[in-house]
């Protein structure tokens, strides 16, 4: 197609066309977020585009609506327990898989990574039934357990990658110098794994805060998390209050992700960096 063009020019045109396509695709990915933010400042109850003015009233309604306040606090309770428990469990699983050979290791690994494959509604339905069977279907416990299992594969992966990159000589040196196994763990292994653990915890916390489908099954009116409360609101009202909350969440996650990228290197956590 570029036969008669000078090669230099053809290369420029090709690369220009390529980046044009990439920018278009990125626009497709980001326009919904932009539309949400624009709508959140709309003065009217009817959602129209473009908004007919500027107003902050939906932000006021979003932060003063009691259901959202309760749901936000529920979410914080569930997330702080779930991501911390997932961090402890995930670190144990990662060590077990990387360091120890024992019968059934691959089975254990498969079972604990399967929440990635099993549809969230199946997981949610299962934990709802389990909660009923154990008599804990009302309350935070079953919500926390569900979230721990759902975010566990992400924490395990993050810690596992750090563990693979850890120089075993450091631990052996400490042990040879007389450090007890507990001391090696707390003074050498955990500090060296800290970036992977922190990155995994962060991803777990964000995923738990925003998890919706399984939460819809295992929460009730008293324990519903923010996404569930938002879903209920969307079904009942059509004003831009949800746009206001969404705008806050979009800006918050973008900020957190940007900072995380600076500190941990998201490319490394998500393992897309070139080797």
């Amino acid at each position: 197609m570029t036969l008669r063009l000078e090669p230099r020019f053809a290369a420029k045109a090709r690369s220009g066309l390529f980046w044009f396509v990439v920018v278009l695709i990125l626009l497709f990915m980001t326009i919904p977020a932009v539309v949400v933010i624009a709508t959140s400042f709309s003065p009217s109850e009817l959602v129209t585009f473009p908004p007919a003015g500027l107003s902050l009233k939906w932000y006021v309604r979003a932060v003063t609506y009691p259901d959202f306040q309760n749901a936000f606090i529920n979410g914080l309770i569930v997330t702080s327990f779930a991501s911390t428990l997932a961090l402890i469990t995930g670190s144990a699983v990662a060590c077990l898989i990387e360091r120890y050979a024992f019968p059934g290791r691959t089975v254990l690994e498969a079972v604990l990574s399967s929440p990635l494959i099993v549809p969230h509604f199946t997981t949610g339905l299962g934990f709802l039934m389990l909660g009923v069977a154990l008599g804990i279907n009302q309350g935070y416990a079953i919500v926390i357990v569900t979230h721990v299992l759902l975010v566990l594969p992400f924490v395990t992966r993050s810690v596992y990658v750090s563990l693979r990159n850890l120089d075993p000589h450091l631990e052996r040196a400490a042990a040879n110098l007389g450090a007890s196994p507990g001391r090696v763990l707390t003074r050498i292994t955990v500090p060296l794994l800290l970036p992977g653990m922190a990155g995994g915890w962060l991803v777990a916390a964000v995923l738990s805060l925003t998890e919706f489908t399984a939460s819809l099954y295992v929460t009730d009116a008293g324990t519903q998390t923010l996404p569930v409360a938002m879903y209920t609101y969307i079904r009942e009202y059509s004003d831009p209050t949800i746009a206001a909350i969404s705008a806050i969440l979009i800006l918050a996650t973008t900020l957190v992700m940007f900072i995380a990228d600076q500190i941990f290197g998201l490319g490394r956590i998500l393992s897309i960096d070139a080797h």
């Binding site: 949400v36 469990t89 099993v118 199946t122 069977a133 052996r172 991803v203 925003t210 996404p227 938002m230």
Partner: protein, 292 residues
């Protein structure tokens, strides 16, 4: 693994506590799945969440035309979503891996990956605003004079697939970027030195070397879309039904736990089945790729 190569005997502290914690987690997940399996073979008693004796009637109910239609729709929507996500994801993944400027790379990572973390409700709601009768697309098309009456995109398969594609992009981009970052650049350079044009290098070297990533990306998104719930629920608005919506309807609205459990198992089998079929295909592709 790592213990084998080092020669020195490795001590194994903390094996039991680590194992105990892992087994508790695995046990809880298996118990939840076991409950789904258990309920799927129990008799539904209308008006009660108590279940009756053992039966296979729930699976027989799955054979009704309505469930077959919904299963087929779920498969078609998931397939189309996987294909379109692949086509749109590849250029972004390629740019992400090959761009040299650090800040462009960071920007691409944040733009491409952040949507994954804003949660499905926020993203689904955003698409309601984009696709609605007075929404973003209709307002723009009207302002440009392209359409007189608003297009109806909400409550259509088109709208559901569009939202699902945007939803699946971050995961697809991550999987493809991993594959592209593993391509040995010297193969590309060799082809270029032998006179292949850049397009030819991409078409005959880079693309074939990334086929394992392409297949796994497409299959993962297919299985992932099988389990999408909020998008068909809110954008489909009851007019576009996927398995997930039926599970919700039967389980939480009609309280027919046995049928909901049978439907969930069906979705689980399709998801695991497609991923299981992928493994040998990828192994074959990887063997082929090393021959190049």
């Amino acid at each position: 693994m790592s213990a084998a190569g080092t020669g020195a005997p490795r001590r194994r502290p903390f094996f039991l506590p680590f194992l105990l914690v892992s087994l508790i987690a695995a046990g809880l997940f298996l118990a939840a799945l076991g409950d789904v399996l258990h309920y799927s073979v129990r008799l539904f008693i209308p008006g009660s969440i108590e279940v009756g004796g053992f039966t296979l009637a729930n699976f027989a109910r799955l054979l009704r035309p309505i469930y077959r239609t919904v299963l087929l729709a779920t498969l078609i929507i998931s397939f189309l979503t996987a294909i379109f996500t692949l086509l749109l994801g590849y250029p972004v993944a390629y740019a992400l891996v090959r761009v040299r400027r650090g800040w462009v790379r960071s920007l691409l990572i944040v733009l491409a990956i952040t949507p994954l973390f804003t949660g499905e409700i926020v993203r689904t709601y955003a698409w309601i605003l984009v696709l609605g009768t007075n929404g973003f697309i209709n307002s723009i098309l009207k302002a440009l004079g392209i359409i007189g009456a608003p297009l109806s995109m909400l409550y259509t398969s088109f709208g559901v697939i569009l939202a699902l594609v945007q939803f699946s992009m971050p995961v697809m981009i991550m999987l493809l970027a991993t594959a592209i970052s593993h391509v040995d650049r010297s193969c590309e350079r060799a082809a270029a030195n032998l006179g292949a044009s850049p397009l030819m290098v991409f078409w005959r070297v880079t693309l074939p070397l990334t086929t394992p990533g392409i297949v796994s990306g497409a299959v993962v998104i297919f299985a992932w879309t099988m389990s999408a719930f909020s998008t068909p629920q809110l954008i489909g608005g009851g007019k576009v039904l996927m398995l997930s919506n039926l599970v919700y309807l039967e389980g939480l609205t009609n309280l027919d736990f046995p049928l909901a459990a049978a439907l969930s198992l069906l979705a689980l089998v399709v998801a695991i089945g497609s991923l299981g079929l992928m493994r040998p295909a990828i192994a074959r592709l990887e063997r082929k790729a090393t021959l190049y």
